[in-house]
């Protein structure tokens, strides 16, 4: 077990907690005995023999904005699937809003990794949002008056009324993403899971989408789990971060995780975290080049390589 510990990035040196414990939450406005939005306890996720990440422990109180960072294939989508109850854990425990994850939990809204709608799909934005209301219910699915009102409100909340009747496949990526968010929020969830909602959007749309989600969280005290390649667009909202690299992870308050020590431990290579003009830039020593977090796959590979090597640590 001890040998396993140093495979995960240790919590920042100045944090008093042991390596796996979450960083202590700063005093905030949450009710003292409210159940956390999610609680991972030595959770391990694997597909067959392939361990994606292991022994993950973190607790996220409600109302927080959690940024999930890491290179492609590090298991960010899998983390969302675990929360959704779609992929069972191989080990450890996970509670979502105080209960084990279960498929179809109406307290969870989900914005999937964007694949874009086919140009010809006979579906309007309004219909996509309507599916978020009752798409899972058997029957013909006519929306009641009240349901239709909810759809309109959700469309208004994301300012998508204007193009709600156009074929969804003809809309821009940013417009489709707004409709996706409306679909996820129409059911009034307490937890919103967003899988790379900023991918393939230009800067202006990235900012708009981030504000939409961040403001929802602040106004409703909703919890957000936000998968992103680049932490910079969400820096002003993200109160917490979990960073996953090759099965290792670091979790805690944003300022505690995105430090030179923690990131070097995570990448098992000397890297430096710099703050430049309000942005966070991570510089890898091996290449000597400045690397942005939005291209984490350019980081030097940790000594020992990928995949099978790290799996062993997970199984220990």
């Amino acid at each position: 077990m001890n040998a396993d510990d140093n495979r995960h990035a240790p919590a920042p040196a100045h944090a008093p907690a042991p390596a796996h414990a979450p960083a202590p939450a700063a005093a905030d406005n949450r009710a003292p005995d409210e159940e956390p939005a999610m609680c991972f306890d030595r959770a391990t996720l694997a597909y067959g023999d392939r361990v994606v990440w292991s022994e993950l422990s973190m607790t996220v109180p409600q109302g927080e904005f959690l940024a999930v960072l890491g290179p492609n294939g590090s298991g960010k989508t899998s983390l969302l699937r675990a929360l959704l109850g779609l992929t069972p854990l191989a080990g450890g425990a996970l509670d979502v809003l105080g209960k084990p994850p279960r498929r179809g939990n109406p307290d969870i809204g989900y914005v999937p990794q964007h694949a874009g709608f086919d140009r010809d799909v006979p579906l309007r934005g309004r219909d996509l949002v309507g599916l978020g209301v009752n798409g899972h219910r058997w029957g013909f699915g006519r929306l009641s008056r009240a349901d239709k009102m909810r759809v309109e409100t959700a469309l208004d909340d994301v300012q998508a009324r204007r193009y709600a009747d156009a074929p969804i496949g003809r809309l821009s990526g940013g417009e489709q993403q707004r409709l996706r968010i409306a679909q996820a929020l129409v059911g009034n969830p307490r937890l919103l899971l967003c899988d790379e909602p900023l991918a393939s959007l230009d800067m202006r749309y990235q900012q708009e989408i981030t504000e939409l989600i961040g403001d929802w969280s602040r106004q409703r005290r909703g919890t957000v789990v936000f998968v992103t390649h680049d932490v910079n667009p969400v820096l002003s909202y993200a109160s917490r971060v979990v960073f996953v690299v090759d099965g290792r992870w670091a979790a805690g308050r944003t300022d505690d995780v995105l430090t030179t020590e923690t990131m070097s431990g995570l990448y098992q290579a000397p890297v430096e975290v710099l703050r430049v003009k309000g942005r966070i830039v991570v510089v890898g020593e091996a290449s000597g080049a400045g690397l942005d977090l939005d291209e984490p796959h350019h980081f030097p590979a940790p000594t020992g390589g990928h995949g099978a090597h790290v799996d062993r640590g997970g199984h220990a």
């Binding site: 999937p112 010809d120 799909v121 006979p122 309007r124 599916l131």
Partner: protein, 278 residues
């Protein structure tokens, strides 16, 4: 010709045929929307062709060819559903099941070469030759299919247009896929009676594909699809009665004409939409 039609309309078997045609068309119109959206034309073909094998097999045994068709396509649906539903996997599974099933059909045909006309009827459709007992079977199957589609219409739509979120929201996506294959098998057995195995796609693809061209409103598209299927089927039967030419020729022609018309008006509807700022 009109006289001939009026004369024939007096016969109860002709009336039954028109009623059966309505049910077949409603089933085909509903199902074809999902066949198109789920890219399942290849599966439709496989269900029809192995259904043909079932039909000839039942004829060999002296049983109802309609029941044989239904059995053949249902078994195929279960095999395809059990072997793989992911798109890439599905394509090859469908292909190899179809090849095997049709190979069996060839054997049955050679054993059954005495009554080749019945086999030809299956291949090209001949609702005129369906016995009254089989007509009852067709009506029952159509009603069950429509009811089944009504029950799963909403989650099927969700699973079709947005499978990832549907799964997360608790839609049993895999079960829905298999149930839809079974409904599709029933729809195939129905439509084969009108247009035959070889022309099956005219009723199970064209209405849905045409409707998609005309509107992005899902409810309207379903309605348009059913209307086109009705137009093609009933129009086909009536024209065939008037001219004594094959039903399937008229059905395919009407359906194709609908599709081409939709393609022609599509730029116009697009421009209208753009003008309204959508």
């Amino acid at each position: 010709m009109i006289d001939q039609l009026v004369h024939l309309l007096g016969y109860s078997f002709v009336q039954n045929m028109l009623v059966a045609g309505v049910l077949v068309a409603v089933v085909a119109g509903l199902v074809s929307r999902f066949v198109v959206a789920r890219s399942m034309s290849f599966a439709v073909h496989a269900l029809a062709e192995v259904g043909f094998t079932g039909s000839v097999g039942f004829l060999l045994l002296g049983l109802s060819p309609v029941l044989g068709l239904l059995t053949g396509s249902m078994v195929t649906a279960l095999v395809i559903g059990g072997m793989g539903l992911r798109i890439r996997e599905r394509d090859s599974v469908v292909g190899l099941v179809m090849a095997f099933g049709l190979g069996l059909g060839v054997l049955f045909l050679s054993l059954y070469n005495r009554y080749a006309t019945e086999a030809i009827a299956l291949l090209f459709g001949a609702i005129t030759s369906v016995s009254s007992g089989d007509l009852v079977l067709l009506v029952v199957v159509a009603i069950v299919t429509i009811a089944g589609l009504g029950i799963m219409y909403r989650p099927l739509t969700f699973a079709t247009v947005d499978p990832v979120v549907a799964e997360a929201r608790g839609v049993p996506v895999r079960l829905i896929s298999i149930l839809f294959l079974l409904l599709l098998a029933a729809a195939v057995a129905e439509a084969v009676q009108v247009v035959g195995v070889l022309l099956i796609l005219t009723l199970l693809i064209t209405p849905g594909a045409t409707a998609e061209r005309l509107t992005a409103h899902p409810g309207q598209a379903t309605l348009v699809s059913v209307v086109i299927a009705l137009l093609a089927t009933e129009g086909g039967i009536v024209l065939a009665l008037m001219t004594s030419e094959p039903v399937s020729f008229f059905v395919t022609t009407i359906a194709f004409f609908c599709y081409v018309s939709a393609r022609l008006v599509e730029p116009v509807t697009d421009r209208l939409r753009a003008a309204r700022g959508q």
